[in-house]
Amino acid sequence: MPMLIESERQAIRQKLTTAISQKKTEDVVLLARELVRSGKSSDIQYCASAFSNVAVELAAQNGFKKLKTFVVRSVTVEPILPFLKVEAGLAGYILDFEIGGYGSYMDEMLNPQSELNTSRAELVLVLLDMEEISGRLPVLCADGRGVGVEQEIVESVGRVGQMLRSYRARNAGRLVVQGCVVPHLTSLGPVGEGLLKYGLVNAVKQLNRLLLELCGSISDCVFFDIDEVAARYGRIAWRDQRLFLSSRLPISTAAFGAYAAALVRTICPLFRAPRKVLCTDLDNTLWGGVLGEEGPHGIVTGNAFPGNCYLEYQKYLTGLAARGVLLAIVSKNNHTEVEEAFQLRSADLALELDAFVAKKIGWNEKAEAIKELATELSLGLDSFVFVDDSPVECAAIRRYLPEVAVVELPGDKPWEFVKTLADQWFFDSLAITDDDINRQKEYEAQAQRNALLTNADSKEEFLKSLSIVCTFIDAVDAPLARSVQLLAKTNQFNLTTRRRTSAEVERFAEAPGGQAVAVRVRDRFGDAGVVGLVLAAQEGDRCVIDSLLLSCRVIGRGIETALLACVAERAVRMGLRWLIGEYIESKKNAPCKSFYPEHGFEREPRRSGEDSVIYRLDLRERIPAKPSWLTVEGDITYELAANTTGAL
């Protein structure tokens, strides 16, 4: 985007001032997005104050998430904070910072009484410099012989691990751990240093690899690969020795923006589920030219320029599909012509028509097509990304379906398609689970089920014919990442919408009388994977259900009832009398509003609030049973003996 000229800049600042005073939050965000283009640090500070000024309104009206953020650090971060606040603001987060002391990072992490350990921070940024993580490394690497280098790296990572685990044992805040930037001021220069097996460059790369592994072994902990960010920016310009040596500022002023953007991009997937579906246009997007005018042999795609630009875009889509992003076509074309084009030009295309789980090819409005897709795939509109080269089509989607993310490709520069898409954050995810990878097959199976339902005489007959098998497993072994993913992204059938962390799931599993059960579902068409979860705690003679949720793909097949029956069965075996359920209304969870009453629960008016309704069921009178058409596998009472203290 072009830089702002001074008069534009002043005009935006004035409008921003007005928007702040009138608390027009949407304008504040839009104007801030404009103003940061100036790249001036005073404008960034102004935008940071703007977000702070309307923080309350942004949270209340625009769904911004406020995050109590603690920074554990050994370097100066204060001048970077406004940049972080602005990047976070543009991504829908309000970072409320608390900063630890320079020299006290070890104490913050290890001491139970430290400010960090008593802060109840939701997000903890661990920003240490290499001097603190592995101060001896430069000396050990100096002679290039490598004596003691491996050991120093292992010990350094061990020390960091001890700090992180000590924090994790007491707190549930999400951890972001920054790695080290590979130093460029080395004795041997860029080529010689890199060739030296035990030189500092390779030692720090190894250190970062081990830190990455370490973070993967700790729940809700993500590694921030600052070296990759610095390398893309240019390591030489990344650090300003003048400011590092005089003020312990680890990053040059010019790189503040790049650093903040990368750090916020690392934070986002900790709190937000990635989008799931990419809807692509065909003409001048998937291929060059207009199929209806040029015919299948006239469209541009293949190994030669400019066809290879489109081929690159197609390859990028196959990469996304491999990670579990569903591909769909939304195009104004004739269906038969598109089929013909995919057939005749298959040698010049990187993907087949079958790679798309859904195709909306016709002459209806694209907004309608996307809404139909959402229904067919049982996904919310906020799971969709729409990619098109036409500004008119893009504007229409932005207007009619604001939840859908729109990527407008520069139609006249097809070589920029991949970059335009890669710059977006919405497919970022921290973990790729088996369920992500199998998602496409599952949606194909869904289509077959729908066909069967159309032919079945009754719903029950249909459900019987599916031969559904539910397997109950410990939510900690689901694996845990999948359980947390479900908690993070399930909206429609989610009774309380509590976004529990992995540490919290573990706590439910380990507490006496606690339950953390996941359900895996398969039927004759395929394996849907782990799709449901329940968390419960024992309180006296009551089994209190904290969370109960089911992926919307499998709602309405009795699996929700089986899940409830499982918790009830376990509560009965523990000798508990009451099963307590709660419904907290959200914008999206109306489908499960009457779940508890439908299963014989009565309302507890005394305990219900405005947003939350509490239900109870006397297990001596009634125990929910699983529907007859379901087969249940797995021992739902596993490890029950060890887990129970018995009812009082």
């Binding site: 001036k40 640090s41 005073s42 500070q45 102004y46 100066t76 001048p79 005089s246 003020s247 002023t253």
Partner: protein, 83 residues
């Protein structure tokens, strides 16, 4: 002295960084007399000024630049175009 004598860009930076109004900014304004002008804001302020005028101050001088007058003087010494 009135705020008109302070270059507008410098005035913007000081106001944004210290979160004070432009009217308060005179050559006499100093860290001592301004509550929000603490050591971290000071670093932030100096970095923003360096960024705006494309200059780099000697780190040993940075702690001394605690009044608007001294900042202006240092900028002039570096040959920055203030107006």
């Amino acid at each position: 002295m009135s705020s008109q004598q302070i270059p507008p860009a410098l005035c913007d930076i000081i106001a944004d960084t210290l979160e004070i109004s432009r009217e308060e900014i005179t050559s006499d304004l100093s860290a001592e007399s301004t509550e929000t002008w603490d050591s971290f804001r000071h670093l932030q302020l100096i970095l923003s000024i360096e960024d705006e005028y494309g200059v780099q101050f000697d780190p040993q001088r940075i702690p001394e630049l605690t009044t608007v007058a001294r900042i202006e003087e240092a900028l002039q010494q570096k040959g920055a175009k203030l107006r």
